[in-house]
């Protein structure tokens, strides 16, 4: 479904991504981890057209995404969230979701006034637990609520490939759990790539994990394989108390 | 519409409109014309007014914006029901007001030299038309042996039309036009133009720039080493007031063409200058358009007296042939085209900022806005 081949990104001489090959199958829930600055976000940026790679290609269903403009990529079925969530602050929560849901309708059909709430939007409100805030402008949301809204917007778009950049950062424990359940259910009929630093979350919901380090793929495998890998411990987990972090009581 | 003018003579006086740009780029020039017109009204009132009534000026701001001129003219005519309006400076403002005055059959007195090719029955033109300023200026240059000219002007109708006339004149009189350049109104960067002028090496520059551009032009010309002896720049829109802003250093010695200077020696002018300074300050200067505005009020008052009414058609009829000694000399209204007989005068700018007359036409020239009396100009008016 998604194939990344020989990808490199160089910023002013600095190699943020240094020859990555990566392949994700249909219906997979893939976790992407790695130290800060490993290039995870950059990789997602390249896939979604925000950053142009220096070399390499990104094949989505065999089609090269490199050089396509962002909205074209979205229309092919690739959706993402951002590490710092961005929502439309002056629109209400409902309008944010509605706009996300109607991206496939032609511009001219948008001229009609919205009447009622579509099923997809209602469902997203439900999943994100934002019903009570539906008519508030998104600008009033807290950090975590915004993150939920973003996830909701992504889901209403029903993309075939979802890329989530640290979706549970700043969420409380049970919210992380809710997100985890959500992702698992979404992954049943979608392909999902999640960037996360929360090892507890990873352990509970991940099967396949790819570890990036200094712009390269360090190792790919199951959670346990990865956690056991000394290099991963060295550069990412840290030796002491590595297990303690992120574990609930 | 029709009854408007008659209604101008109310019990409490006769309303007259004063419509100039008091704000915007043209305020620089027009404010002083307004002052001169108000002075004339004051003088007339001091002498008992007209038809036993005082004149009451209604002042409006045209704001350097032509449609505003049209709007304010309408307001003066329809709401204030003024007996006559004195106003305008740029040709564009006059063109905008013209339909208003023609449709309402009301009177406009326009005080500035202009490009001719116009003669509206509802406008009196107290400034020069081209055969009273441009052509005498060319005669003067020819006399001086300056045969290669460079034309510099602001990009609008007066300079463009003036230059067309100049080119026709040159073709008929063996003069050569080495260049013709226009800059937008308010342009202040004359490095390139100066370079072009200097490189062309003309005998003289004929300058129809208007407003602030003159300041930049002369400053930059002067610092490029162009002197009045080597290459005089003859201006037709630079008067005493502008000289102050340009800086005498930059323009002294260059010739200008008008019908009036502050230094013009007539008894009427002595009175005018003294009255103006008394009214507005000793450091104030008088200039041609001011004098033409000042004249306009007096000429109109004269016509009203002669007609015995402020009614427009009667005043128009009465005006033809009125002759008054004015600061610039004898001025006679040509009843046919409602322009004035005026004496053309060439002056040179003095180190004290005043202008000294060096040449004049000897007698008032009959106004000929369509240049019908000039065979070489036959192609101009007809298109």
């Amino acid at each position: 479904m998604l194939q990344v081949r020989g990808l490199s990104v160089v910023f002013d001489g600095f190699r943020a991504i240094d020859g990555i090959d990566l392949s994700v199958e249909q219906g997979e829930l893939r976790f992407l981890i790695g130290p800060n600055g490993a290039g995870k976000t950059t990789l997602v940026d390249v896939i979604t057209g925000l950053t142009r790679p220096t070399t390499g290609e990104v094949l989505f269903d065999g089609r090269d995404l490199v050089g396509l403009r962002e909205h074209r990529i979205v229309r092919l079925g690739v959706g993402r969230t951002f590490q710092t969530s961005v929502v439309f602050e002056e629109l209400t929560v409902l309008e944010n979701l509605d706009l996300a849901a109607s991206f496939r309708s032609p511009l001219r059909s948008l001229v009609r006034r919205r009447r009622g709430i579509s099923a997809a939007v209602a469902e997203a409100l439900e999943t994100t637990g934002l019903q009570s805030l539906a008519d508030r402008p998104a600008g009033v949301l807290s950090h975590g609520q915004r993150q939920w809204l973003e996830i909701g917007m992504l889901i209403t778009q029903n993309p075939r490939l979802l890329l989530l950049d640290e979706p549970v950062a700043g969420m409380s424990k049970d919210e992380r759990e809710r997100t985890g359940e959500l992702l698992t259910s979404v992954a049943r009929d979608h392909t999902v790539i999640v960037i996360e630093h929360d090892m507890e979350f990873l352990r509970r919901y991940a099967s396949q994990v790819t570890v990036l380090h200094e712009g390269k793929v360090l190792i790919e495998g199951s959670v346990d394989q990865v956690r056991a890998d000394p290099r991963v411990q060295e550069v990412y987990l840290g030796r002491k108390r590595s297990d303690a972090v992120g574990t609930g009581s | 519409g029709d009854g408007a003018a008659a209604a101008g003579a109310g019990d409490d006086g006769i309303k007259v409109g004063i419509l100039h740009s008091l704000s915007g780029t043209m305020a620089i020039s027009e404010v002083t014309v307004r002052d001169a017109e108000l002075l004339a009204i004051k003088e007339i009132n001091a002498a008992g007014g007209v038809l036993g009534k005082k004149l009451v000026p209604v002042v409006e701001d045209g704001a350097s914006d032509w449609p505003t001129f049209a709007e304010k003219a309408t307001k003066l005519i329809r709401q204030d029901k003024v007996a006559a309006t004195f106003g305008g400076w740029t040709s564009a403002s006059r063109k905008a007001m013209l339909p208003v005055f023609e449709r309402s059959k009301a009177l406009l007195w326009y005080p500035v030299q202009y490009e001719g090719l116009e003669s509206s029955p509802y406008i009196f033109y107290t400034g020069a038309t081209t055969n009273q300023q441009i052509i005498p200026a060319l005669d003067y240059l020819k006399e001086q042996g300056r045969k290669k000219l460079f034309l510099v002007g602001s990009d609008y109708v007066f300079p463009r039309t003036a230059n067309k006339i100049i080119k026709a004149y040159a073709a008929a009189n063996g003069m050569e036009i080495l260049g013709e350049e226009y800059t937008p109104l308010g342009h202040t960067e004359y490095g390139t133009l100066t370079n072009k002028v200097v490189q062309a090496k003309p005998d003289a520059v004929f300058n129809t720039l208007n407003g602030d551009s003159n300041v930049a032009f002369f400053k930059q010309l002067n610092s490029a080493g162009v002197t009045a002896e080597k290459m005089p720049v003859l201006s037709v829109s630079v008067a005493e007031e502008e000289v102050k802003g340009i800086g005498v250093d930059n323009i002294a010695g260059h010739p200008v063409a008008w019908n009036y200077y502050q230094t013009t020696e007539t008894p009427a002018n002595e009175k005018f200058v003294a009255a103006f300074k008394a009214e507005y300050g000793a450091d104030k200067v008088t200039s041609d358009p001011m004098e033409a505005g000042y004249n306009a009020v007096h000429l109109w008052a004269e016509a009203v007296k002669k007609a015995g009414t402020v009614e427009v058609e009667a005043v128009r009829k009465a005006a033809g042939g009125i002759a008054l000694e004015r600061p610039e000399g004898l001025v006679t209204i040509d009843g046919e085209n409602q322009h004035m007989y005026k004496t053309a005068r060439i002056g040179v700018i003095q180190p004290d900022g005043l202008i000294k007359e060096v040449w004049n036409s000897g007698r008032p020239i009959k106004p000929d806005p369509y240049l019908k009396g000039y065979p070489w100009a036959s192609g101009l008016a007809s298109g």
Partner: protein, 229 residues
């Protein structure tokens, strides 16, 4: 050290905090917990003066700072790391640190110290902060707070978006700072981390303090009940 009394605050017509009181004694670490959107950030913003308090008072070191501007509070020794790894994006990493240092008027050595805490920033010193990864920005943000040599450090979810090994380092750093006598007010979602570090707890729900007490009081089921939906 910091004493907050009956604090009310909100945005426009929406009131968010309702009579919040809390106390941070010198050298103590107080942790504020609560679900998304209960008003934790709002509380810190009000303590720091970013948001005006509509009622109640904030007293720092015996001085009423309720009406002081944020920068004045910084001069008095309060430092704040806002949520969401904020930086001056077009200044270099070094510039980010310098500008704070200069504003606070501290000695240049502090800058070295801060960089020792986050050695991973060292190779990035010249890079514009806006180009850093999320985690790098967060490290920079904490380092920036440290260069002001505060006596009270306020941290809003400092481990958000940070790799596990650095979370450990941050945790250790907080421990060290705490041990050295610095008072700390912390918002943290990782319960176990909070439990290890905090002396006292404050649990917020819908803008009210629903529970506060010593760390020991908050073990076991109790806390889950309080933090659950």
């Amino acid at each position: 050290m910091l004493s907050v009394r009956d604090l009310d605050a909100g945005y426009g017509r929406a009131r968010v905090l309702f009579g919040v009181s809390l106390e941070v004694e010198p050298g103590r670490l107080v942790c504020v917990m609560g679900r998304n959107g209960v008003g934790k950030t709002t509380l810190l913003n009000t303590v720091m003066g970013v948001l005006p308090a509509t009622a109640g008072s904030v007293v720092f070191d015996g001085r009423d700072v309720t009406r002081l501007a944020p920068h004045e509070r910084v001069r008095l020794g309060m430092a704040y790391v806002p949520q969401g790894h904020e930086t001056f994006p077009q200044l270099s990493v070094l510039g980010n640190l310098q500008v704070t240092l200069e504003a606070a008027g501290g000695p240049p050595e502090v800058l070295e110290e801060a960089l020792e805490t986050f050695p991973r920033l060292k190779p990035l010193l010249k890079r514009p902060a806006g180009f850093l990864s999320g985690g790098q920005q967060q490290q920079l943000a904490i380092a920036r707070a440290l260069v002001t040599r505060p006596r009270l450090l306020i941290l809003d979810e400092p481990t958000e978006g940070i790799q596990p090994s650095i979370i450990i380092e941050i945790e250790e750093a907080i421990e060290r700072l705490h041990a050295s006598g610095l008072a700390i007010l912390l918002v943290e979602q990782y319960l176990d981390l909070a439990l290890r570090l905090a002396d006292r707890f404050l649990i917020l729900d819908a803008g009210h303090v629903v529970h506060s007490g010593a760390a020991e009081e908050l073990r076991g089921e109790e806390i889950h009940r309080l933090l659950a939906v």
